[in-house]
């Protein structure tokens, strides 16, 4: 089913939870709503579910406006962060509950419950009550209940955040596989960018109720629309250097207190175009920072903290009052307190407008 959110605004009293949001979700697509807590992503989900009514704007299912359709008539499956299993029913009854409400014949209910239980491998739990299950099992039951309805739309509200790290990794892959296998249009709410990046076809990044960018994970990573997306997507987050633009001969430099960086060719044209703006923010991801001995480069930094991550080492660096991060191979010779020079990969640099946060250009 195709889901269109058109110019959706949702207010609670004077608080604007979602503002003028438009999203077009294709049939069978897996879309993540990503943002920090309180950004309005759960509000969007509950409005699509029909629990909240839009203050303004429209929700369409396959082109039909459903603003006034009660939740029970929307044929939606939903998994809550708390799983929201009915504690007074057994697992079987939980899964069968939505089907019973539709007055489905008992044999058909049984067939569907068993099929869904088999899909999620919870057949041996059917007689238990939710209170007797582990978190991972409860999550499976909740997903099973949502899927047994054979919904047109699956809504997942942070379904992984109550699982421990190992289980989360498993569930992540499992949900992605199921979604592709069943081809159900799915909206997934999360504050974890790794979850969103790994699972979704497209990600809508929200901040304070406003859509920042709606694109594929690769595009969000390589072409972030603004500072917020650039910082939110990618782990560890992008480094930002704010400075003013100065001309040195034929070269353009970004200069800050105690440091300067010569902008590479690729960024010159866009930097020149906005020269009157004077101040700029240069963005570079930690994985695109290389360290060398201090005499080799113009930007020198002090090694501040070293965090081994196994495959890489995350080095925290100090340039005057700036804190930067570099992700480097583990075979690096420096120790805390050493002075090194920083080299930015000239093919992966970003320039942002410090006032609006908008991306001006990238190399």
């Amino acid at each position: 089913m195709r889901v269109s959110i058109e110019r959706l605004t949702k207010r609670f009293g004077k608080v604007v939870a979602v503002q003028d949001l438009s999203l077009e979700i294709m049939d069978g697509e897996f879309v993540a709503l990503l943002g920090p807590s309180g950004c309005g992503k759960t509000t969007v989900l509950l409005t699509v579910a029909g629990i909240y009514r839009p203050t303004q704007g429209w929700i369409r299912f396959d082109g039909k406006v459903v603003n006034d359709l009660p939740p029970r008539d929307r044929n939606i499956g939903m998994v809550f962060q708390s799983y929201a299993l009915y504690p007074h029913m057994t697992v079987y009854e939980n899964i069968a509950f939505p089907l019973t409400l539709r007055r489905m014949p008992r044999a058909e209910i049984h067939r569907r419950v068993m099929a869904a239980a088999q899909l999620l491998q919870i057949e041996e739990l059917l007689d238990r009550r939710p209170g007797q299950l582990s978190g991972g099992q409860q999550q499976r039951v909740a997903l099973c209940r949502a899927l047994a309805k054979e919904p047109d739309l699956l809504l997942l509200d942070e379904p992984l955040s109550n699982l421990d790290a190992r289980l989360r990794l498993l569930a992540r892959a499992e949900i992605k596989r199921l979604q592709k296998e069943l081809g159900i249009t799915t909206i997934f709410v999360t504050h974890d960018q790794v979850e969103a990046m790994t699972m979704a076809d497209r990600i809508a990044v929200l901040n304070q109720g406003v859509l920042q960018q709606f694109d594929t994970p690769e595009a969000l990573y390589t072409r972030p629309a603004n500072l917020f997306v650039a910082e939110f997507i990618g782990s560890p987050p992008m480094n930002f250097l704010e400075g003013s633009l100065t001309v040195h001969g034929s070269a353009l430099r970004l200069t800050g207190p105690g440091w300067h960086v010569t902008l590479p060719e690729g960024l010159r044209s866009c930097a020149e175009a906005i020269r009157d703006r004077d101040r700029l923010i240069l963005g570079v991801r930690p994985e695109h920072v290389r360290l060398a001995s201090p005499e080799e480069g113009e930007l020198r930094a002090e090694v501040y903290v070293i965090e081994p991550l196994g495959r890489d080492v995350l080095v925290n660096l100090r340039v005057g009052s700036l804190r930067l991060r570099a992700l480097v191979p583990p075979s690096f010779p420096w120790k805390v307190g050493d002075i090194v020079s920083l080299h930015f990969d000239s093919a992966h640099l970003y320039l942002f407008d410090p006032h609006t946060g908008v991306l001006i250009g990238r190399s």
């Binding site: 509950l46 579910a49 029909g50 629990i51 009660p70 939740p71 029970r72 929307r74 939606i76 499956g77 939903m78 809550f80 962060q81 708390s82 799983y83 929201a84 009915y86 504690p87 007074h88 509950f97 939505p98 409400l101 539709r102 209170g131 209940r145 309805k149």
Partner: protein, 276 residues
Amino acid sequence: MGKIRKGAPYLILMVLSLPLLLLYAWLFIGAFSPRTHGLIPEGFTLSNWRFLFAPWGNRPSIWVAALNSTLLAGGYTVVLLLVSSTAAYALSRLSFRGRRFFLMLVLILHAFPSITLLIAIFYVLRALRLYDTLIGVALVKTALELPLGIWVMKGFFDNVSWDIEMAALIDGCSRLQAWRRVMIPMVRPGIAALAVFAFVLGWNEFLLPYIYMPSSRNWTLSVFIRSVTAGGAGEILFVNYGVIAAAGLFYVLPVLLFFLFTQRYLLQIYAGGVKG
């Protein structure tokens, strides 16, 4: 040292509850002996229990009074549960104009001394032709205890997560179905607790039946016992403590048994929580 420290709370509790225990002991001993000197009985007799088989003086049979007490406590409990579980759900879950005001009003009503309403209630009951009826008294008792019932039930509804209710709505329930099939089962411990609490309260009620049901055919056990202590109409004022003790024991026994089996529900009212 450790032993003394552990034992101290028990010792204090025992000393404090001693007067109560002595009262119960007297009740029990007195009910089975012709006379007592303090707690020392003067022989054993069952004659104090005559009232079980024959009317005592010109009073109605104690079984009629027991039936009245049961009807009053039971009826009042049922109505209280129905009204407070619906009202509490609305106050806990729905947003409507005047909700906060209503909640405060309910709280104030709970704090209001109901004895000041006695005369007004008399007029209301008479106007409704419910004076001297069990239904009338049951309704008055319900009205007076509703604030408590609503607040207790609201606490239980508040503890049910919104997620569960939303899940029910998405799973195909109407609001009413969600209330009946999901919310009510989840607050069942609260309903049980309130039911026990209300029944005991209704069983123990004395003032309302005494004032609003003067006819002896409507007497509840509490009124019956009062009549034993005071002497009935036309009787010489001779107080038979043995009979009072026996009638008292008869009165208190169902409550004690009830408590024994339901105390774990009752505790939830005071603990005030739902355990998943």
